[in-house]
Symmetry: C2
Subunit: 120 residues, 2 copies
């Protein structure tokens, strides 16, 4: 006997329905879930991660980031655009040069948490 809203599936204990209800309650809404995975997706690329680490040390212009990481200016610009649209970095122009920096300290906190997990 299955609870009415379940498809044919493996049988479980009496508390099965309670668990399913608990899951549905705790699941974030679709928008939040999208934004959350999008945020982590941004962190899930080594070029972007290295850019962020550079910016942990100091605000920096595009060509310096490129030179420092050994990546073309174009690639860096493309990635900075993503980072900026995710509001992880911000920029200011000074003449021909554009300086990028972290949007807020939250960024480092999240990455440090991940680092702790990795370094266990």
């Amino acid at each position: 006997m299955h609870p009415p809203e379940r498809a044919a599936c493996c049988d479980q204990t009496d508390t099965h329905q309670d668990i399913l209800d608990a899951v549905r309650l705790k699941m974030p809404d679709e928008d939040t879930l999208y934004n959350l995975t999008e945020l982590f997706h941004i962190f899930g690329d080594s070029t972007r991660m290295r850019i962020l680490y550079v910016l942990f040390a100091s605000e920096m212009c595009v060509c310096d980031i490129a030179a420092l990481l050994g990546i073309t200016q174009s690639a860096i610009s493309h990635q900075l655009r993503l980072l900026k649209s995710a509001r992880l970095v911000k920029s200011r122009r000074e003449g021909k040069t554009v300086f990028y920096s972290l949007a807020d300290d939250h960024v480092k906190t999240i990455i440090d948490q991940g680092l702790e997990h990795v370094q266990e």
Copy 2:
């Protein structure tokens, strides 16, 4: 005039070289950086994120996760394999059924940090 190890690039302040040195010091080694981006990469997919949220509530078998999320058993199995190889979830077999659960509480901490950033 540029510092010797720099390629032709935009001119900077006197502290330029100090900043570059600081960046190099703070940058994690290649292995750590790889593991870190790999970790976030795992979080950067909505199916995997939803699986993790399901497991926040309770340990659960594969077909229940599939039914709950409306995703095929095969897709869930494939993603669980990734999650397990990243040591984010663990499994135990009970007869024909395999139950998955979170590998440790660290996982939820990292995701909660991301959630805070997203919900600002």
